[in-house]
């Protein structure tokens, strides 16, 4: 699965940072635009791009961007 598009969409439209800013170790809470609407937007793009249904609580439990990507990957592999 190509996550590049997801990352790009996440950077531009969810947390609104410049392309290439995010790393797997980036702490989500430190991003200025990481708020409750960002959580809903994340669910929307995961659904639109991969057909994956993420839970609000699941997303909020992620500390880093990498953990969030892992959640999406887990859902995709049916874990």
């Amino acid at each position: 699965m190509d996550f590049k598009n997801f990352v790009r969409e996440f950077e531009e439209n969810v947390v609104m940072v410049a392309e290439g800013t995010l790393e797997m170790s980036t702490v989500l809470e430190n991003l200025e635009d990481w708020d409750s609407l960002a959580v809903v937007s994340t669910m929307a793009i995961a659904d639109n791009m991969f057909g994956v249904q993420l839970d609000g609580e699941e997303i909020v439990s992620c500390t880093t961007f990498g953990e969030l990507i892992d959640k999406v990957k887990n859902q995709l592999s049916g874990a």
Partner: protein, 256 residues
């Protein structure tokens, strides 16, 4: 003296009766003696709702299968059913509606279009149908089920707010235009009512956020019955002098 809230001589067309607020409205209107025309896409769920209704007053409720997405066909279809069942439609409650939570940063106009179509356009088409003398010739009452989110705002629901706010504005102009035909037009603006439509919202937000929201309601969350009673009032003779208004039923949410 006749009960001013009785609907016993009225035929009311109701959309969205398969579930949620609409289903409760069907039950409550039926108890008040109304004869109902239940409209929806799914024959089986409509039949189920009809099965629940109190028929002690021999109302002989009607079920009509119709997809409100076919907006342009609505007025013509209304003339057909009036002729088919030999009735005069005295009132309409447009309770069918959808709500999607979609932050601006990722929203799609096509999603908003779906909400506008069902929440607003189909309601306006029903209103057009009601204004036709073949459908209603003795005056009537149109009730839109709007939302408190058409009066106040909330992040994440721009499209939904737009559709409900549009209803509240449409109510004013249409009330003025149809007054001389004896048709009153109003909307009900409910606050948060836990129903299947709101399950999506409940899944999207954290438990903390849900509790926070409930605390913003001085009288707690509402029930479908709270809305149904308002619909009874607006449809009845008791509201003969009420038109062009958006009735807020929200447990005190918007007065803060």
């Amino acid at each position: 003296m006749q009960d001013p809230f009785s609907l016993s001589d009225k035929t009311i067309l109701l959309t969205g009766a398969s579930s949620g607020i609409g289903k409760q409205i069907a039950e409550t209107l039926s108890k008040q003696g109304a004869r109902l025309i239940l409209v929806g896409r799914h024959q089986d769920t409509l039949d189920e709702t009809k099965g629940y209704l109190n028929v002690n007053l021999n109302q002989n409720h009607i079920v009509e299968n119709f997809d409100l997405e076919h907006v342009d066909e609505i007025p013509g279809w209304m003339k057909e059913i009036v002729s088919k069942h030999n009735v005069n439609i005295d009132g309409i409650v447009h309770s069918a509606g959808i709500q999607t939570t979609s932050p601006i940063r990722t929203m799609k106009i096509s999603e908003i279009e779906k909400m506008m179509s069902l929440n607003l356009y189909s309601g306006l088409a029903l209103l057009k149908g009601l204004s036709n003398k073949k459908v209603n010739s003795s005056g009537g009452s149109f009730v839109f089920i709007s939302s408190i989110m058409g009066v106040v705002g909330q992040p994440g629901i721009v499209g939904y707010s737009a559709s409900k706010g549009a209803i509240n504005s449409a109510v004013k102009s249409s009330a003025l235009e149809l007054a001389r035909h004896g048709i009153r037009v109003n909307s009900i603006c409910p606050g948060f009512i836990p129903t299947k439509m709101m399950d999506q919202w409940s899944k999207l937000v954290t438990l903390e956020k849900r509790k926070e929201t409930e605390n913003q309601y001085p009288l707690g969350f509402g029930t479908p019955t709270d809305v149904a009673y308002a619909a009874v009032y607006l449809l009845s003779e008791a509201a003969r002098w009420v038109t062009g208004t958006s009735m807020v039923i929200d447990g005190g949410y918007s007065c803060q």
